[in-house]
């Protein structure tokens, strides 16, 4: 067990590699109850959300969700999150555990007329179900939503929500339900999934899976000093939609071009696992550092994400990574590092 965002959580239940493979090959479940949930509603909610988030909620139909950012006035990331449109004037935000209080306080400070906020994080437990067989596992739970959509669900007579999304690069769902039902739903999923080979999965495999999929982690790959443009996530920023916090700074950066870009790296020789903060070099000079890193259970080599000077941040570029005083060759790769064969 380890401490994560103020919660005590398992790094693994059996082994990181075994849990990782279960998600890639069948299905795994993750306790994500530590994450935060904020409900936002009111007659002025759409315009307000568009002022405090980077993506455009006008694009959302009822039941649809989008990945988006809460930015500071430098365009840096306060949090990355998913916002779902539940009804005409009601939205459901799922935010990172480590940022719940910060996000909520920041939203309260920017609050205006016609918008109501509710932090319901402590009311909700949540479980992520991830893997190619996750739809089979959820078959008993009624009609399932399409990717990036959320719908209501009844479990044990209680109102819950199920969203089709995830942090692993596989098909999957996130279930949000009353906290008291936690153990019941968890055990039910383990029972239902026995024949499918379901595994309980911890933080260790959550990290190896998301790095293979090249999903950023706030606090490592994203921070208040990094913008979505530098992270290569400009498709989740709508600079045309009108005023929002951070817009000015992002426009300036877009015109000038980013100085560093978040790149995916893969070892091309046998090396120790990649880890955050290892230096990236070219021609003896330091051109960046890793912000995330691991040994990929699927690819069997070191992989990571790191900010590289823009000139080097191109797929195919060879760089060196320095690990305990020795240099190992790595390639900048196209994202994602792992893609499901179709």
């Amino acid at each position: 067990m380890t401490e994560f965002g103020g919660w005590k959580m398992p790094v693994y239940y059996s082994s990181i590699v075994e849990e990782h493979r279960a998600v890639r090959n069948q299905v795994g479940i993750f306790d994500i109850s530590h994450m935060g949930q904020i409900e936002v509603s009111g007659p002025a909610v759409k315009g307000w959300l568009n002022r405090i988030l980077s993506n455009n909620v006008d694009r959302l139909t009822i039941g649809q969700g989008q990945y988006t950012f809460m930015l500071n006035d430098r365009g840096g990331v306060i949090d990355d999150l998913i916002v779902y449109r539940r009804h005409d004037h009601q939205f459901f935000l799922v935010v990172n555990a480590a940022n719940i209080e910060e996000d909520f306080v920041w939203m309260q400070k920017s609050l205006s007329e016609g918008v109501t906020l509710l932090d319901c994080s402590s009311l909700f437990a949540a479980i992520a179900i991830q893997g190619p067989r996750s739809a089979e596992l959820m078959a008993d739970f009624g009609e399932l939503p399409a990717r990036n959509h959320i719908r209501d669900l009844k479990i044990a007579e209680c109102s819950t929500m199920i969203a089709r999304t995830g942090y692993t690069g596989e098909d999957g769902f996130e279930l949000f339900f009353p906290a008291g039902l936690g153990p019941f739903v968890w055990n039910r999923l383990l029972d239902l999934g026995k024949a499918l080979g379901v595994r309980p999965c911890g933080l260790g495999s959550r990290d190896t899976l998301r790095i293979e999929a090249c999903y950023p982690l706030n606090g490592s790959d994203l921070s208040q000093d990094r913008t979505p443009l530098e992270a290569g996530l400009s498709s989740f920023v709508d600079l045309e939609k009108g005023e929002f916090i951070g817009r000015e700074a992002l426009w300036v950066q877009k015109k000038a071009g980013v100085k560093q870009r978040l790149s995916a790296l893969k070892a091309i020789v046998k090396s120790p696992p990649f880890r955050p903060h290892y230096s990236l070099l070219s021609g003896g000079g330091r051109i960046g550092e890793l912000t995330s890193g691991t040994q990929s259970p699927t690819l069997g080599v070191g992989i990571g994400l790191g900010y590289l000077d823009a000139d080097f941040a191109r797929p195919g570029q060879k760089v060196e990574i320095e690990i305990r005083g020795r240099k190992y060759g790595a390639n900048v790769e196209k994202k994602p590092l792992y893609k499901k064969a179709t």
């Binding site: 260790g204 691991t294 040994q295």
Partner: protein
């Protein structure tokens, strides 16, 4: 947690089996269990010399990096090359096929300074 009686143990979770002045060294069941899936090892070269307690290599699991310390001083005579391709042997069989290296002792008194199996068991159960 396995703690074989015929071995000696260091405070830093290495074990040693000594035979006619040559010690076979590995990491304990407790160590491999704490580390999780081992994916990489940096082991010394044959011919290299180390003092007791010196950092002699590194063992890496998915989640962590850990130093391997020399439980006794001496010269490396052999290294387990199977671990290059199968580092998981250390998890599966830490006292057998997961052995790390062999060392020719310079001072047999150093063996006596190590922990017995019962002392080591007490240490890990604390």
């Amino acid at each position: 947690m396995q703690v074989p009686d015929d071995l000696k143990y260091s405070e830093s979770h290495e074990w040693i089996r000594s035979d006619a002045g040559i010690g076979t060294v590995g990491i304990t069941d407790y160590a491999q269990d704490s580390l999780g899936d081992i994916v990489f090892l940096e082991l010394p070269q044959a011919g290299a010399s180390f003092q007791q307690g010196e950092t002699i290599g590194v063992v890496e699991s998915v989640k962590t990096v850990s130093d391997i310390l020399a439980p006794v001083g001496g010269e490396i005579t052999e290294v387990n090359s199977a671990l290059q391709t199968s580092p998981e042997l250390v998890n599966k069989d830490p006292y057998g096929s997961g052995w790390l290296f062999r060392i020719r002792l310079v001072n047999s008194d150093e063996i006596a300074s190590l922990l017995s199996s019962s002392d080591y068991r007490a240490r890990i159960e604390k």
